[in-house]
């Protein structure tokens, strides 16, 4: 079970420390005080002894520090962390069924359909720093998920060596300086790959300390930035950049602001740079490959790949290779400019992206058409999905005996809230062509016709 090392782990002598920082280095800001590497290690070692025997840990901690402690403890206990953004009952029940013998690490009294273990931590630096454990680079540290075209999530494995290598690569990419450690204020959940890499893993191996208090609303971000010393790096998303700019008032001095999860409009980047007097950077990545490139948005469309990451063009797809990571096919289409630079051509059309989450359109359609009483149906993605904050998907359904409300209610447990249709429209038939295909324009025209007042 959980304590049996994988065969690959025994075969490889390579090891990486759990923490690559000095014992008194600040790794996190938690409950308004700095937490040192020694304190974090002490908390992780203590929790590792309290964890139940299990195969996997579903890390549901919302508190970023509790999340980090739980992740480290699970790593020590050889319990890979399952990271999911779907915390719905149905989603978690499906995860528990797929990974039998797993439990959930929680930092609040959450009601979840699997055994739980509360995560306790105190963040206090011990009198004597414990020795830092070495972890085989080949140990499976985390499993992350993307939505697949079958409607079921696809699992992606992250080895410890890959995560450490990427943290070091990020430190080089953003020239983080050990002589002047930075404070990271992340607005992205730790379960999201971008948040996991930049706000949980980075402090373990790079000169950075991550803020673990609230950082969702503009006022939270203001308070967080004011609470940490310079140099500050804001790790966020286009949505939150927009909200921060709309909320008005300047920000304390920043060393950089970093955006990911969706393309950052040039105008927004320009406004952010002018208002905040800081470079507005973007990271390009994906759940299955992590962060692989960055750019300053205003410098143009060329992305610079992280050190150690290489891209190979194969037929229609791009493969990404990196230390300790299996080559992965990229979901976006790119054009290589030279060995270290590329530009994005676009996304494969089956993918829908919203609020940092990704879904497969065919997967969504499959979930829809598998509902009882639904004879045909399709999701429609508005053209301006990523330009208009209030834009969401809609669903057009053929279901003679069902109401739109009942269909929506049933989708709720099965579909990420962000991808729930804002409208469910019942029709007699979908405008399929003679091949049975549903041209997007025909579906759009049908909806436009229905919307036109009679």
């Amino acid at each position: 079970m959980g304590s049996a090392p994988e065969a690959s782990e025994l075969a490889s002598p390579a090891q990486e420390p759990l923490i690559g920082r000095l014992p008194d280095a600040v790794l996190f800001y938690w409950q308004n005080r700095p937490v040192t590497a020694a304190a974090f290690l002490q908390d992780a070692l203590r929790l590792a002894q309290e964890l139940p025997d299990a195969t996997h840990m579903v890390n549901l901690c919302r508190d970023r520090y509790a999340f980090a402690v739980a992740f480290a403890a699970a790593l020590l206990r050889r319990q890979p962390c399952l990271l999911t953004g779907d915390h719905s009952r149905l989603g978690l029940a499906a995860l528990a069924e797929r990974f039998p013998g797993s439990f959930a690490a929680v930092n609040a009294a959450d009601c979840v359909p699997l055994p739980t273990c509360p995560v306790r931590a105190n963040g206090e630096t011990p009198a004597i720093a414990p020795p830092v454990p070495m972890i085989p680079a080949s140990r499976l540290a985390a499993v992350v998920f993307t939505s697949g075209s079958t409607g079921a999530p696809v699992a992606h494995r992250k080895l410890w060596g890959a995560l450490v290598a990427r943290s070091r690569a990020a430190a080089a990419q953003f020239t983080l300086d050990a002589a002047a450690p930075c404070a990271i204020i992340g607005t992205v959940p730790p379960q999201h790959m971008y948040g996991f890499e930049l706000t949980v893993l980075l402090p373990l191996h790079a000169p950075a300390a991550s803020w673990c208090g609230p950082a969702f609303y503009p006022s939270d971000v203001h308070a967080a930035l004011a609470a940490v010393p310079a140099s500050r790096i804001l790790v966020t998303t286009p949505l939150q950049i927009r909200a921060l700019l709309h909320a008005g008032s300047g920000l304390p001095s920043l060393r950089a602001a970093i955006s990911a999860t969706a393309p950052l409009e040039r105008a927004l980047a320009d406004e952010a740079e002018q208002r905040w007097h800081t470079p507005m950077l973007e990271i390009f990545g994906a759940t299955e490959v992590g962060s692989i490139a960055s750019r300053r948005t205003l410098d143009g469309e060329a992305w610079t790949t992280y050190p150690g990451v290489s891209l190979q063009q194969a037929a229609d797809a791009t493969m990404v290779s990196a230390p300790w990571a299996e080559p992965v096919e990229l979901a976006d289409r790119i054009e290589a400019l030279d060995a270290g630079h590329f530009r994005l051509l676009g996304r494969r059309t089956d993918l829908v992206k919203l609020g940092g989450r990704r879904a497969s359109l065919s997967g969504l359609n499959r979930i829809l058409t598998e509902l009882d009483g639904v004879t045909d149906g399709a999701f429609l993605v508005p053209d301006d999905l990523n330009e208009r904050v209030t834009a969401r998907l809609m669903a057009v359904v053929v279901a003679p005996c069902r109401s739109p409300d009942s269909i929506l209610a049933e989708l709720r447990g099965r579909v990420d809230p962000l991808f729930l249709p804002r409208r469910v429209i019942c029709v007699d038939a979908l405008p399929r062509n003679e091949l049975g295909k549903l041209p997007r324009q025909a579906l759009q025209a049908l909806v436009a016709r229905l919307d036109r007042p009679a």
């Binding site: 919302r62 719905s88 609040a108 609230p214 969702f216 609303y217 503009p218 006022s219 939270d220 308070a223 949505l239 939150q240 909200a243 709309h246 909320a247 919203l354 609020g355 904050v389 209030t390 929506l408 209610a409 709720r412 809230p417 962000l418 729930l420 804002r422 409208r423």
Partner: protein, 99 residues
């Protein structure tokens, strides 16, 4: 109930005047496909009920600041209570509004 019971648009179906104002803010800000009257004060706003999501929460926070003059903070557990329903959100707004 209200004295204006003969006017269909003002029967309020249980909404108080401040609740109706917040319901209007919700529908207009988020461009929801529901009638303002149709939002039951006890209906859940996130997840079930109105089915709002995290993008909506951020957008709503900006609109609340513009309309009522105070800023929302995420003090975790309490925040879930505030956003639980139209009634709880309105109660929070009425207690903290500066305009």
């Amino acid at each position: 109930m209200t004295e204006l019971g003969n006017s269909a648009s003002q029967t309020l179906d249980g909404q108080t005047a401040p609740e109706r104002a917040v319901a209007e803010l919700l529908v207009n800000t988020l461009q929801l496909e529901v009638a303002v009257d149709a939002i039951d004060p006890d209906m859940r706003l996130f997840g079930e009920g109105l089915g709002l999501d995290s993008i909506d929460a951020l957008e709503l926070a900006l609109a609340i600041t513009r309309a009522y003059g105070f800023e929302l903070r995420s003090d975790d557990e309490r925040n879930q209570q505030i956003f639980a329903s139209l009634r709880s959100l309105t109660g929070h707004i009425e207690a903290h509004r500066t305009k």
